[in-house]
Symmetry: C2
Subunit: 243 residues, 2 copies
């Protein structure tokens, strides 16, 4: 597999989506000789699928690739089969995951990425769905049917946009407390909190943790002190976790 | 119906849960001659159901009432039928709602509250489940089966702990943007954002909005400017919304 799982789309100063990880994306696309990029924009609710696809095309404009939005395909399953690379936009994770299930795309994407080695680039919601389930997403379940199982490219849960700060005076549960709730109910699982500007890079059997801003990743397990993992670390061992 | 739907359990300076709304709770319990209070603590994950029940008993210690945790009942359905009042603790909304469905308690609670007029007091998760669905909760779906339909005592969605502040530098969607996503996908519904320290008080056919700290409530509808509703307002009209 070649996965680049970005926490989010932009950090301060970025004008393009995925800008902070473009060197990594460029390396993968060149190495895999990618020509035909399919963008999955289904998570996008507050702007159009066309606009989001165009934003991705703009980010990739330095490469000699064609960029197509999956929402424009007559046959989305065939479009996934024909893709040299898949880019999945952030937005609402519940809408994204339900749409992939509704259109029968989970199996074809799993086949392309996990069996054929088609590069998979996601950010935010597009990263959360690479886990066994989307149950550690931060957004609201705005769809009528709440479907949580997802692509399972990695064996741990992901919390994107991870942050351990809180708004002063706010009494609601913190992000860390919500992750703790998840682990109490799901005691064998792990949650990786990846801060904005960071990504997990899977290439073959190896995984590293990268961050444009050097923020560390937090690895949560029940009844264990969290592990703080620095940017640049080899985290291949996490690919062998129980899920 | 007699509902007191609190945004959260404590505001700054409170030592007891529901402290900021105790005058309103006392008024309802005295008026309804409540003796037997049943606490529903199923949302509580990070501490025990016993402890949470004891916290509620402590908050009600000025009243001549017995307080029992529903988790200790041999027959939870019978315990609901025998209750003079129901108090539902905050915690994880998904766990709370799934547990009520699993134990067959949704119908009995609806019957007690909506048909027999048994007072219902909730905070946070206990308030969110009074809506048609829990899809505007802030917490993570930590359970394996994501069940969203809920008690439907009111015809609008509730966002508890509502806040329009954000953490500086954080690029993730704001609370308002997530509510906007909900409304785009569910264009006929309304979402009420109730800030910490506030509550909705339903008595018979009337509803008012109250707040210990005078913070306003925000009423969100698709393609309409939000309505800012001041504490002390009669909001009975919201009980006639489409859902």
């Amino acid at each position: 597999m070649d996965l680049l799982l970005l926490s989010n789309g932009k950090v301060a100063g970025n004008t393009k989506v995925m800008e902070f990880a473009l060197p990594a994306i460029t390396e993968v696309f060149n190495r895999k000789k990618v020509k035909n990029v399919v963008v999955i924009p289904y998570a996008v609710i507050r702007s159009s699928h066309d606009d989001r696809t165009a934003m991705v095309a703009d980010s990739l404009s330095h490469l000699d690739v064609s960029v197509t939005g999956l929402h424009t395909a007559d046959d989305p399953v065939k479009a996934i089969r024909d893709a040299d690379a898949i880019v999945v936009s952030g937005g609402n994770t519940w809408v994204l995951n339900k749409t992939l299930h509704d259109l029968g795309l989970i199996g074809p994407i799993q086949h392309a990425v996990a069996k054929l080695g088609v590069p998979y680039i996601g950010w935010s919601a597009g990263t959360v769905i690479s886990a066994p389930t989307i149950r550690t997403t931060n957004d609201m379940c705005i769809v009528s049917a709440a479907i949580t199982p997802s692509l399972s490219f990695v064996p741990f849960q992901i919390n994107a946009h991870y942050i351990d700060a809180t708004i002063e005076g706010h009494m609601g549960e913190t992000r860390d407390e919500r992750i703790e709730e998840f682990l109490i109910v799901n005691p064998h699982q792990s949650v990786l909190g990846i801060p904005e500007g960071s990504w997990l890079a899977v290439s073959g059997d190896k995984m590293t943790y990268q961050a444009a801003n050097d923020k560390p990743m937090h690895w949560f397990k029940l009844n264990q002190e969290r592990k703080i993992i620095e940017a640049g670390s080899d985290v291949t061992e996490l690919l062998s976790l129980d899920c």
